[in-house]
Amino acid sequence: MALANSTWEQHWRALLGISAETAQGVVAAGAILVILFGVIIPAVGVVSYLFRKLGADLQARVGPNQAGAAGFLQGLADLLKLLQKQKMKSEVTSAESQREGSFWYFGHTLVLYSSLAVLPLGSVFLFVNTDMSAFLPFIAALAAVLATLFSGVARGGVASFLGVFRVSAQAVAGAVPALFALLCAGLGAGGFRWEAMAKAQGFYPWSWRVFVNPFELLAFLVFFASGMVLLSIPPFSSAHPSSDLRGGVLSGVFGRRFAWLSFSRTYALFLWSLISVVMFLGAWNLPGFLDGAPERERWVFVLELIVVLSKTVSLMLLAGWIERASPRLRTDHVTDLVWWVFMPAALVALIGTALWERLWGGP
């Protein structure tokens, strides 16, 4: 396993102040908790607050402003409220199938959060640093879709069952071009290791992969858009509505499940934006004059985190802007768009990147 020979352990021991005798698992657990509660939850919380305020501002209204200063605690109020919801006795589904639904629902979130271990948040945050690292979030996203699908089947009812078809059709459609675009990034960077992808780029925009190679710009657009299709992120979310009368896999989800759902949907967007940033938009690279700084200085890691997170949040806000400006596409339109436009574009990008690298590429 790559865990043994990587430097993450020493960094984290230094950061958390854990002595060398403590087991590796304790360090890993501590690190994951720090990432989850120190990075992921604040980032997702802030972004969902910004989304609500952005949506309100674009409609010339105020948005939440009663809970806390300028409504900043609105998300907390919603979360605490959802946790207080009671259970529902359902006549439609049996207790057994409800348990099954809970299982798959739990699987859905668990699989998504398993990608925490491979999140490329900076050079120290890499736990599982293998040659195939870049595929792991991709596989986690696919597994999450699969779990969503089964939870829809287990919930019973016509709406969920039809929603399953939509989700699976859209996930298959989104996965293929995303995979080709991922191959482009690997070709350009010379490997699927996060470090390799970061090292192929620099801090300044002109050294980002998207601007070095025009085919990779195409690959980036295809990767981000088809990732949104794969994870059913708006405006490609019609397969997956949670609050619409049209129904779907997750309609009728309430209480703490709904809280988890909303969180993990925003997390899915966060995950996809983050890996897009690392693959195409300069990763966590700092300006060149910082190269001389001692590698294990804590503030270098913090700077890396700030750089990568600010790019990620900007990309998420861009996605939110597009979501609020454009109508939600119908599922069959989404799949048509993917197969007719994204797929050829991904192939062109792949061939183009290969030729570009062969002709003008590195040493």
Partner: protein, 160 residues
């Protein structure tokens, strides 16, 4: 004593959370629904209070009954209410929802004389139809009720 202090402050926080996140479903008929839709819109923006329009009753906390309830729609209203998950609240909007309004008083056979005959109502808003501000006043009243400090305010009497 300390436990009591802790539990009351936690209960206060939970009450605050419930009162500031009243997601609603709305049944609309007639002019009260027009005013209610105005209230949900940009100019009177109920989202300021953390209230979002939900179309799925399972995700909603507040049922806003605006306008008349007929004997035929009684069943649907009951079903909608039953589909919501406790803790849940009901707001009756306008005279027809409060007590049947002009229809029940003139002896219409098809009208339910008040929503409270079908579902328990938490807050009544007078008006025919009530202004959007009156609806928001009802929301604030409900928030006060949830937070447990609603003051029973009587309109001032004219002294003899």
């Amino acid at each position: 004593m300390k436990d009591g202090l802790w539990s009351t402050s936690i209960a206060k926080v939970l009450d605050w959370a419930r009162s500031n996140s009243l997601w609603y479903v709305s049944t609309g008929a007639g002019c009260c629904a027009d005013e209610a839709l105005q209230t949900f819109g940009c100019r009177y923006d109920l989202e300021r209070f953390g209230s979002i329009l939900k179309t799925d009753p399972a995700q909603a906390d507040l049922l806003i009954v605006s306008g008349l309830v007929t004997q035929k729609s009684k069943e649907a209203l009951k079903a909608l209410y039953d589909r919501m998950i406790a803790p849940k609240y009901v707001m009756a909007l306008g005279s027809c929802a409060n007590c049947g309004g002009a229809f029940a008083r003139s002896g219409a056979y098809c009208v339910v004389a008040g929503v409270d005959q079908v579902v328990p109502v938490d807050v009544y808003v007078p008006g025919c139809p009530p202004r959007p501000e009156a609806i928001m006043n009802g929301i604030i009243k409900l928030q006060e009720k949830i937070q447990g400090n609603a003051i029973e305010r009587q309109r001032p009497r004219f002294e003899a």
